[in-house]
């Protein structure tokens, strides 16, 4: 990861999804746990280091590479988070949302 993208990526998140540009440069390191409400992303991969069975379950729930995910809302205490994926809504705890690395889409 270049220094530039490391500096730019967090700022992009802070200013919201509307101004995020993707395509040529991939904002690496973003996971489902880093999104703001309304932000749309595409799943890159589901990490299976901590708990392969649980990661497999996330795939079975629709979080497969290439799937489009939109962050819907957070619970009042910021955790868990509701996502819209594969045409339905599902709540995940941030600990598990962190396993899903994503790339932002222009919304």
């Amino acid at each position: 990861m270049s220094i530039l993208s490391a500096v730019v990526a967090p700022r992009r998140r802070a200013i919201g999804p509307a101004l995020v540009e993707t395509g040529s440069d991939r904002a690496e390191g973003i996971t489902l746990a880093d999104l703001t409400p309304g932000q749309a992303v595409r799943v890159l991969e589901v990490s299976s280091q901590d708990d392969p069975a649980a990661a497999r379950r996330l795939s079975d729930l629709g979080f497969v590479p290439g799937a489009e995910v939109r962050m819907v809302r957070r619970a009042p205490l910021a955790d868990p988070v509701v996502f819209r994926v594969a045409g339905y809504e599902i709540a995940l705890r941030r600990a598990q949302a962190r396993w899903v690395s994503v790339v932002a889409l222009v919304s």
Binding site: D60, L61, P76
Partner: protein, 652 residues
């Protein structure tokens, strides 16, 4: 073979209600995909429940017939995947695993797919088709798909997946006819010419091609649900509505149920009086009136609370609010190492630990279920109320005040708070202990669109809960009550022997108090005195504690009898004037402040409830967890009561 739920609950019974003579079909699908609605529509009310050994998720088996051909239909637990990560999902995986030897296997599978979540559900279908069992697909919620402007070419979809496909919406009758005919011909179902891929990496491509060829248009976001969620899940208003809902929840349970409970109590009281009047034999009359009507009837009076609780729970579940409540509370419960669904179970325990423990069925992880079950008996249940009222009344006078509020109310509130905090602490400890052995399931919860609960599904849930309560708990209570009555009334004494001991044989309360004083139970009460002496309890309190092992309210009844025996003229004041009969405190009042405080704390912690133990046995599948719960709660109760007695003794 009859499908008897009582029989099915026998541990080790593998082939639960499955008749090998009849073709057996099993319903498979993700949670909330309409399996149970379809099951009930097909089998009517002939559904019976059974348990798997060691795994307590209920497995429903029912029958239906098409053209005089009877068939067995089984409703398997809902799961998102055959790669099981929790015990209930393992049941489904095992049933579908052709290499698993132990289980009765269905002849064919009926896969329910929610048409609005097809992109996800097809993943499950791919896994099911890979098992090689004959299968057909029932598409549900197609009306909702149309309402939300989605669409699907069902004929093209059928060609794409390669197995028979039918749509059934909400178990509508006119759609069940074709389904019945389809199910009858299960042996002739086509198998897919090109089976779906089994490698997880290849499945998304298969799903995409199936959806493309069948012109699937993803439904739009449900506007009604979005608008409701904007309020109910709002960071501020969501919490406000949630707490208001919880407040109303308990108001409804207590205010609506207590009059009915009162009528039931009156009814059993009336029956008891009638028995005493009309049954000549003194022992038989006492057995029927005190033992059966007093004991078993006393438990049946909780039926209104059970029924109402399940009305409310099933409405919350069917409408979709339960998922939202769990979502709102998940962060708080996470602090105790539990997930949001456990919160609902703990709340239910405020009415009674039994529905609370039954509500842990919604928890997918066995570890969380056990941890919640271990904490649930600490929530202040309605059975503790009479005991608390009696003891707090003896401890402080109604006129005593702490600042502007009555002292009795403050003590009562403190007991509720300490109970709730202890329940959370206990759940935290057990979830920590279980982490090493049990599977750790990631928390995920589908947020289904809001739907109107059907009266039929609510009615079925309540009926099921009430029947289970009456049948299983009634058995346990009946057994305990008979044993208790025998222990309290044996050995029998002849009138002559009692006269010789100075008892007026015409005074029924004197006779009963003499009988109890010299009963086997009193002997046991004296035998356990060394255990309870450090807490300041004497044999009479011990008998009360032993009697309350069946149900906590029994303590009040036992103390009433003891007091009436000591002061027949003033039974109401009797307890205050009871004195210690022997030892260093001989002649001093029995119920001093330290003793009362110790008793309150003892009842706060101790698992004095045979029904809870029975339900723990039923829901956990073995005697191990009720034994652990009873043991740890007794030790905690004793230690806390001892400390309380010391502290209050120093303060007063």
């Amino acid at each position: 073979m009859t499908l008897d739920a009582g029989h099915c609950a026998v541990p080790g019974e593998d082939r639960v209600g499955l008749d090998e003579q009849l073709p057996t079909l099993a319903l498979v699908g993700s949670p909330n995909s309409g399996k149970t609605t379809l099951f009930n529509a097909l089998t009517g009310l002939r559904a019976k429940t059974g348990n798997y050994p060691g795994v307590t998720v209920t497995r429903y088996v029912g029958r239906f017939s098409v053209d005089d051909q009877e068939m067995v239909l089984e409703d398997l637990p809902g799961t998102y995947s055959l790669a099981a990560i929790s015990p209930d999902e393992q049941v489904v995986a095992d049933v579908l695993d052709l290499d698993h030897p132990a289980l009765a296997r269905p002849d064919a599978l009926v896969v329910t797919l929610d048409a609005t979540t097809l992109r996800r559900s097809l993943n499950m279908l791919a896994q099911v088709l890979a098992t090689g069992l004959p299968a057909c697909v029932v598409l549900t919620f197609t009306d909702e798909l149309t309402r939300r402007q989605g669409s699907l070419d069902v004929a093209a979809f059928e060609r794409a997946v390669g197995v028979p496909v039918l749509t059934v919406t909400g178990g509508r009758r006119q759609e069940l006819g074709p389904l019945r005919d389809l199910l009858l011909g299960w042996s002739a179902w086509p198998v897919p010419a090109l089976p779906p891929p089994t490698e997880p990496d290849e499945v998304p491509g298969w799903i995409e091609s199936v959806l493309t060829t069948s012109d699937y248009v993803l439904p739009k976001v449900d506007e009604r649900t979005r608008r409701i969620d904007a309020v109910l899940l709002h960071p501020v208003w969501g919490s406000v509505v949630f707490f208001a809902a919880m407040f109303v929840f308990f108001q409804v349970i207590f205010t609506l149920a207590s009059p009915v409970q009162g009528w039931l109590e009156d009814l059993f009281g009336f029956l008891g009086t009638q028995v005493r009047v009309h049954v000549g034999n003194r022992y038989l009359a006492s057995f029927l009136a005190d033992g059966i009507l007093g004991g078993v009837g006393g438990v049946v009076t909780f039926l209104p609370q059970i029924a109402l609780l399940f009305v409310l729970i099933s409405i919350m579940e069917a409408s979709g609010y339960m998922s939202r409540a769990a979502f709102l509370m998940d962060r708080v419960m996470a602090k105790a190492g539990l997930e949001g669904r456990a919160f609902v179970a703990l709340l239910s325990s405020l009415a009674c630990a039994i529905p609370g423990i039954m509500a842990t069925r919604t928890l997918p992880s066995m570890r969380d279920r056990i941890a919640t079950m271990m904490g649930a008996p600490l929530m202040t249940c309605s059975a503790r109320l009479p005991v608390y009222v009696l003891l707090v009344g003896l401890l402080v006078s109604p006129s005593a005040r702490i600042g502007p509020v009555g002292a009795q109310g403050v003590i009562m509130f403190a007991l509720y708070v300490v109970g709730a905090l202890s329940a959370m602490a206990s759940a935290w400890v057990f979830s920590r202990l279980g982490r090493r052995s049990g599977p750790l399931l990631p928390f995920y919860m589908e947020m289904p669109p809001y739907r109107m609960p059907s009266a039929r599904s609510v009615g079925l849930a309540v009926w099921d809960a009430c029947r289970g309560f009456l049948r299983k708990v009634g058995k346990i209570i009946l057994g305990t009550t008979v044993v208790l009555w025998v222990l309290l009334n044996l050995p029998t004494h002849s009138d002559a022997a009692m006269s010789a001991a100075g008892v007026d044989v015409h005074d029924s309360s004197a006779v009963s108090s003499y009988t109890i004083d010299h009963s086997v139970a009193a002997g046991i009460g004296r035998a356990v005195e060394p255990i309870f002496e450090p807490l300041g309890f004497d044999w009479r309190i011990n008998v009360g504690i032993l009697a309350s092992l069946s149900a906590r309210e029994t303590f009040v009844a036992t103390m009433g009898q003891v007091a009436a025996a000591a002061h027949p003229d003033q039974p109401a004041q009797g307890l205050k004037h009871l004195t210690v009969q022997s030892g260093s405190r001989e002649g001093e009042p029995l119920f001093t402040a330290p003793v009362l405080a110790a008793l309150l704390v003892f009842f706060l912690y101790a698992l004095q409830c045979a029904s809870t133990i029975g339900v723990l046995r039923r829901e956990s599948g073995s005697w191990k967890w009720p034994a652990i719960a009873f043991g740890y709660l007794f030790v905690v109760a004793w230690v806390m009561a001892f400390l309380t007695q010391l502290v209050v003794g120093m303060l007063t």
